[in-house]
């Protein structure tokens, strides 16, 4: 019962983190790429971890053999 509110909270937090206004005008290169781009690639990795937990908790389980 508590898993969905936890999922929703995590989702909204990630939604906020997607709006990275803190790197909006930062052209610093990081590993050869602009930091604004590196941030969003790493963001995809974090989202992957989040959904690994979410799928474990929320995905229905089959009752068929």
């Amino acid at each position: 019962m508590k898993t969905f509110p936890a999922f929703l909270t995590g989702f909204l937090l990630l939604y906020f983190l997607h709006q990275d206004f803190w790197f909006w005008n930062d052209a610093t290169l990081f590993f050869g790429l602009p930091v604004g781009l590196v941030y969003h690639v790493l963001y995809c990795v974090v989202v992957t971890l989040f959904f690994a937990l979410a799928a474990k908790a929320l995905l229905p389980k089959s009752t068929e053999g």
Binding site: F11, L14, Y15, H18, Q19, D20, F21, F23, W24, N25, D26, A27, L29, F31, G32, L33, P34, G36, L37, H40, V41, Y43, C44, V45, V47, T48, F51, A52, A54, A55, L58, L59, P60, K61, S62, T63, E64
Partner: protein, 503 residues
Amino acid sequence: MIVLSIGLLSKRLFRGTGEDYFVATRSIGPFILLMSLFGTHMTAFALLGASGEAYHNGIGVFGLMASSSALIAPAVFLLVGSRAWSLGKKFGYLTQVQFFRDRWGSDVLGLLLFVVLVAFMIPYLLIGVMGAGITMHQITGGQVPQWVGGLLISAVILTYVIFGGLRGTAWANTFQTLVFMGLGAVTFWVIVQKLGGLSKAMTIVSQKRPSLLVRGDHVNPWTFLTYTFIPLSVATFPHIFMHWLSARKPESFRPAIVFYPLCIAVVWLPSVVIGVLGTINYPNLQGPAANAILVKMIELHAPEYLAGLLAAGIFAAVMSSLDSQVLALGSMFTQDVVRHYGFHNRMTEKQQVLFGRLFVFLIMAVTYSLSLISNRSIFKLGIWSFTGFATLLPIVVAALFWKRSTKQGAVASLLTVIFLWVYFFVQSGQAPDYTVGDTGIMPVAIILIASTLAMLVGSLLSPPPPANHIERFFERGQPKQSLHTVPTVDPSLDSDSSYRKTP
């Protein structure tokens, strides 16, 4: 040749039924589901459109579409996809329209949805056919005209979809997805090496076009915020819905939910970076001409033998979406028109599948004709198509999760989408970066809010649906039956007023 072979091979497993042709008898496992969903979702839009857009507007394109999709799409698979699969298996649905028609007991709603879904799908098909034409034209140094590339890809897809059905499409998608992900990485590495390494190439861009390395003035903050509604379209794409229904069991969704964000990063990062680096070698491309930047960079930097292979990767991405889209349209026509309106009484099951194939052929012919006269950016065409699909979300969510929702609410929501979509499309004219009143707010946000309100108000102002009808869709527990036949509203009861009798 390989995808044609896959399509023909899968035909050997064809069981001769509509359910097998359209959803592979719900037998697709986790890995194939991930690959086919991802391959279907990523198209010329991701490879050609994203690199063309990055060429003009820089790295902000990744945050706009890629990382927002990385968050939204898995959430949709988890919350909407798995539940849609469960109801699809329980009641034997093969299309979205069957579900919506059954859920709200409305024939008019089903027909309206059929027309709207097909209409929104055409621009989406168009970007695939255009992408194929552009790729063929560029990779042959202009010797093969664009219309030949578009025609070739249309013919190949029609062939293996017609023979293979969803099983062939899912297998071909898996192969194609692996090809374009692998070759995308090779393309990226080859081009970056030719430019002297990533740091050196980006330093050149920072000196010549520094604004491309930040979002800066290229992206309005309101646009960045409201673009996140666009990936909600994955909840209502007919071809994605069809792939959901093909899953063997709910656990089959797990890799698609977990690894989708990584797959998106792997495909979009090279596309966006090559688009930005393209300004070094081709600094003066105007408007839609930038759609060809990825192919131009391959042609310029990759050895000849590799260039052909890399172009095949782009073809793979284009085909992996087009095939599912045309199959979904064929499925909808067969199930939602031919079967539903009683023509099936006069036809064998094979004849019904044949009619679906003829409809697919007709749609492809229309799309191909439009590709010959369209001069719009691939990216912009995609956005208008996705806007339409995303704004249908309230109908899907209400059908799956809101017992009190009614057909009146759903029709109100759908009519709101149609009216506002047409209004904003006409308002936008040929403006490439249209936002509502130049505020930066994307039309999708306004239409989505309006269609949600229409669903709420329309439902609450109309009588609640019969409890015994609704309970069928909200029973706890897992599927208890697989009917393998499609429940439909009895046409004789129609006139849009009768809910289907509970069995």
